[in-house]
């Protein structure tokens, strides 16, 4: 079982994700250079955070045409786990693998801070380690994390239970005051048409160890590894 971590030029959370999956959770990882064209031997794909190609155009707009993205698309269609964190979420949206758009934060500024999230579903490869409606703390660090979608897309996302995480108050209340960036419905993360694909703006890898916080990001990765172990068993 090997977790593939895609490295675009400008990815900067690749080593953090590798540290958490590889060292903290003890799984095998492999960096996948964006020019690679095969995912052979890979059990799950992580698109990490960063500034792919500097994000001088719309975030993720260039990374989406990197050679590896065709393979990632195929991999996702096969129902296998693909998760995009922060810039990785932006890339998945730009690639059309996830719906909607991530636009400039309502404050217009880059925001780096811890936020509380409510876990909306526990029946995905990433969230089995949580209780339904559990509050977790993953930090955010982005300038363009304001999730927007047309009314029809939003209705479908909500109706099909594809909202994975919502920004909330520490007690779990989802209200506008707990929305850091203006996202519709306080949406912090969404699933694809099937729940093997996930995109989220907050960084679970930044709170996966006791030294850095309450480690509520660790079950995110441990859950994925458990899921993969069960699938292969």
């Amino acid at each position: 079982m090997t977790i593939g971590i895609v490295v675009f030029p400008g990815s900067n959370c690749d080593h953090d994700v590798e540290h958490v999956i590889g060292r903290v959770c003890g799984a095998k990882t492999r960096f996948l250079w964006h020019k690679e064209t095969s995912l052979e031997g890979i059990s799950a794909v992580v698109l990490p955070g960063g500034f792919s190609y500097g994000d001088y155009l719309r975030c993720g707009a260039i990374a989406r045409v990197s050679p590896i993205m065709e393979e990632v698309r195929r991999f996702a269609r096969q129902g296998r786990p693909v998760v995009g964190i922060c810039n990785g979420f932006q890339v998945l949206v730009e690639a059309g693998i996830l719906p909607g758009a991530l636009v400039r934060n309502a404050s217009l500024n880059f925001i780096c801070r811890p936020v509380s999230l409510r876990v909306e579903r526990t029946d995905s490869p990433y969230t089995t380690g949580y209780l339904e409606r559990q509050v977790v703390n993953f930090p955010i660090a982005h300038a363009d994390g304001n999730f927007q979608a047309d009314a029809e897309t939003l209705r479908r996302l909500e109706g099909e239970g594809r909202v994975a995480f919502r920004y909330c108050a520490p007690d779990g209340r989802v209200d506008p005051a707990a929305n850091p960036n203006g996202s519709l419905g306080n949406i912090a993360g969404i699933f694809g048409t099937t729940r093997n694909v996930l995109g989220l703006m907050p960084h679970p890898e930044r709170n996966a160890e006791g030294a850095l916080g309450d480690a509520s990001g660790r079950p995110f990765f441990a859950g994925l590894l458990n899921h993969l172990a069960e699938v292969t068993a």
């Binding site: 400008g10 953090d16 958490v20 500034f51 500097g54 500024n109 780096c112 660090a141 930044r206 850095l212």
Partner: protein, 748 residues
């Protein structure tokens, strides 16, 4: 090349060389200078590159110690942090470009200091910034402040190096000259440091990174002059590309994991010129380059332009023979330029060829090292007697001390800097254990990914008002405060980098300030065992004859080890005992209280007993070793009252304290005096005895002054309640001050 002007003394003067300097340059080359050579001398011998006014003083700084892995002289210095690792760090100014174009000026300041660190083979793990602006009541200052912060965020966030700390001060004196000092800290294996040396005659000299353009030509010369009235200097400011820098970091790390190169240096100020001649000079060799091979962004660039361009994100390296292909392969993978542009020679010359002709031929060592050194005249400024003669007790004592406390918390220099650090990614690389907002930032140290159980504590500081009022004491106080910040976090101070921001060295009183400040830093560093391992000097921070306060910014690195855990400033639990370590004296001179409440910046700064400072730091660390310290905060600007309020706000819990005037202090001094060598710490009631015993043995003064309790901040003096304000009210004043000021509202 027929367009090149003939070089005369008059032309040299236009390029900033004095008659004497021009003659010296001619003597070094043994003939008239070519135009390209004139350009090279003018940048290398600029104040910015040659330190010609400051060197005679800087050589007094202490630079050695068992913890020093590498002292000044290379691109950055290094101290030992255990496990065969070292912290590589340096601070540098980007004041002039940031005032001209704040976004790019600040961004490229960050880019430059990053390169100084990773060129040594260290992966950058943290950035800090020390900023000075005029008050936010002026629109221009709001523009400079917000654009500098945006520029730092733009660059640091994109390269994936966390911006973990720093400070911001506001004062009228910076209206026409803002200060932007950036510090970078990296971690390297001590046995794998890379130096900027052109070793091995015949070895290939390679250019890697971004292409060379026409930007930033004469940036170093610009930074060696004061500003006039209507100068158009924007073209001398470079444009940063953090994406390319990120690629450059990764490519260099990949390159340095192997044994492919002899030496490497970034192209900072004076670009290709300084990197080539300094590398040759350090190795005692020469460098010959064929400028036809330099990767250029624009067509038709002349040798002069190529040698003086300060285009960003470029490095010069000397490869081991036979490894040119390997270097090229790594850089091409990262879509970066890599070209062999010359070779190392044995004749000690910097020789430049272009279109089959030799366009410059200068002995490299004299060019790099034999710029004239000036012992510029010094004089005690006449302002001092009047300012120092002031007696703060001649001012009426305020009636409502709670209102004073609130005003101090809302003064932008003391107020929360959350608006700033919210915009910086301070968590990337997953090492940030104590985020911005405490006394020092704390990062865990990993080796090959594995926790070492050790932590770095990082801080920057400078109270320039103190330095103005007494340069010797003020500079020593700055070092001492950095040490307290680091100690309050649980770390032993290891070493410093200094960034000396001063006005024009051609004014004798500025040179006197400089010399006295160096003296103060020297004595404090010796007493506190924090050698200077790197530094930078920025002079000519003055406009139309008005200079800044002398601002010797200090960046300090400390180490938490032996199982000691990081400590933060916030109060933790109801009932914890609050202890004041150290003694409060009537040190109101130069205080924030005088400036904010009485609008006066005068008096004598606090007297600093360096032996007591050291003893107090050691005592606090010993107490921390017992594991009983729950919070610790150093007392600085705003005095004891602000220190207590800050710990209360950060912890979200109030306090009740009783203070003592000892029959000699006025109430304003008890609350707001900025006496050094003081800490406010808390322990659980169960640990009272161990606290008293440990501090008692150390022989430093300490007193239990109260409890963590409730939702108000209450302070009594001589059993009389003097301050009684709700925590929520103080927190709002402290939190909202900067956002409100930026909305264009009134600043206190």
């Amino acid at each position: 090349m027929s367009m090149e002007p003939a070089v005369t003394q008059e032309l040299a003067a236009e390029y900033g060389l004095t008659g004497e300097e021009y003659e010296r340059a001619r003597r070094i080359v043994g003939r008239d200078l070519t135009w390209t050579e004139l350009g090279i001398f003018s940048v290398m011998w600029s104040e910015h590159c040659s330190y010609k006014s400051s060197r005679v003083h800087l050589k007094r700084l202490p630079t050695t110690g068992p913890q020093v892995v590498l002292g000044p002289g290379e691109n950055a210095g290094a101290v030992d942090i255990g496990d065969g690792l070292c912290a590589v760090f340096k601070m540098e100014s980007h004041n002039h470009p940031s005032f001209i174009e704040p976004f790019q000026g600040a961004a490229t300041g960050v880019g430059g200091i990053l390169r100084d660190v990773f060129t040594m083979g260290a992966r950058p793990v943290a950035l800090l910034n020390s900023l000075r602006f005029g008050p936010l009541s002026r629109p221009k200052n709001r523009y400079l402040f917000s654009r500098v912060v945006a520029g730092i965020a733009h660059y640091g966030n994109c390269v994936g190096v966390p911006t973990v700390g720093g400070e911001v001060y506001f004062n009228d004196i910076y209206n026409q000259n803002c200060l932007v000092n950036a510090m970078c800290v990296g971690i390297a294996r001590s046995d794998r440091l890379f130096l900027g040396q052109a070793k091995g005659v015949g070895n290939p000299v390679m250019y890697v990174g971004a292409k060379t353009g026409r930007d930033g030509i004469h940036g170093a010369t610009m930074a060696s002059e004061e500003f006039g009235e209507n100068d158009e200097k924007r073209p001398t400011v470079q444009v940063g590309d953090p994406f390319t820098e990120k690629l450059l970091i990764e490519a260099c790390m990949e390159l340095m994991a192997g044994d492919y190169i002899e030496g490497i240096q970034d192209m900072g100020a004076a670009g290709l010129t300084s990197s080539s001649c300094e590398m040759a000079s350090r190795a005692g060799t020469g460098v010959e380059m064929n400028l036809d091979l330099i990767p250029c962004r624009e067509e038709g660039m002349t040798p002069y332009e190529m040698m003086l361009s300060e285009s960003q994100e470029r490095m010069l390296l000397v490869a081991r023979p036979g490894y040119e292909g390997k270097v090229r392969e790594i850089f091409e993978k990262w879509d970066l330029e890599a070209a062999v542009v010359g070779r190392v020679t044995d004749d000690g010359m910097l020789r430049l060829l272009f279109q089959g002709r030799t366009v410059a031929e200068i002995p490299a060592h004299p060019l790099a090292e034999e710029a004239p050194r000036y012992e510029r005249p010094m004089a005690v400024p006449d302002y001092l007697d009047a300012l120092q003669g002031f007696d703060p007790y001649s001012l009426a004592e305020p009636k409502d001390m709670g209102a004073v406390l609130k005003a101090l918390l809302a003064s932008p220099t003391i107020a929360s800097k959350e608006w700033v650090y919210r915009q910086y990614d301070h968590m990337v690389q997953v090492n940030t254990v104590v985020a911005p907002g405490s006394d020092a930032a704390v990062l865990r140290i990993r080796k090959d990914g594995e926790d070492t159980g050790r932590y770095l504590a990082l801080t920057t500081d400078c109270n320039s008002r103190y330095v103005m009022l007494n340069p010797y004491t003020g500079a020593a106080l700055t070092v001492a405060e950095c040490a307290r910040n680091v100690v309050a976090s649980g770390a032993r101070p290891l070493g410093i980098t200094d960034c000396m921001n001063f006005a024009s060295p051609e004014r004798p009183e500025v040179m006197w300030q400089f010399a006295m400040a160096v003296e103060g830093i020297t004595d404090a560093c010796v007493a506190l065992d924090t050698p200077v391992v790197s530094g930078n000097v920025s002079l000519y921070n003055e406009t139309l004859g008005l200079g800044i306060y002398p601002t010797p910014t200090i960046g300090m690195v400390g180490l938490i080890e032996n199982g000691r855990q990081p400590v933060t400033a916030d109060f933790k639990d109801d009932g914890d005992i609050i202890v004041l370590v150290g003694t409060t004296n009537d040190d109101l001179g130069g205080s924030e209280y005088l400036a904010v409440w009485h609008s006066r910046e005068l008096g004598i700064p606090p007297q600093l007993d360096l032996a007591m400072a050291r003893r107090t730091n050691d005592a606090v660390l010993r107490l921390m070793d017992t594991g009983c310290v729950k919070s610790c905060h150093d007392a600085a600007e705003g005095g004891l009252a602000v220190t207590l309020a800050e710990s209360a706000i950060a912890g979200g819990i109030g306090c009740q304290v009783g203070l003592d005037s000892r029959g000699v202090l006025r109430r304003d001094a008890v609350l707001f005096a900025e006496s050094p060598s003081r800490f406010v710490l808390t322990v659980a009631p169960a640990n009272r005895d161990i606290m008293a015993e440990t501090l008692g043995e150390s022989g430093v003064p300490f007193a239990e002054i109260g409890w963590v309790r409730g939702d108000r901040v209450q302070m009594g003096i001589d059993r009389k309640l003097t301050v009684d304000v709700s925590l929520a009210e103080l927190a709002a004043a402290w939190r909202d001050a900067i956002p409100r000021a930026l909305e264009g509202g009134n600043t206190p």
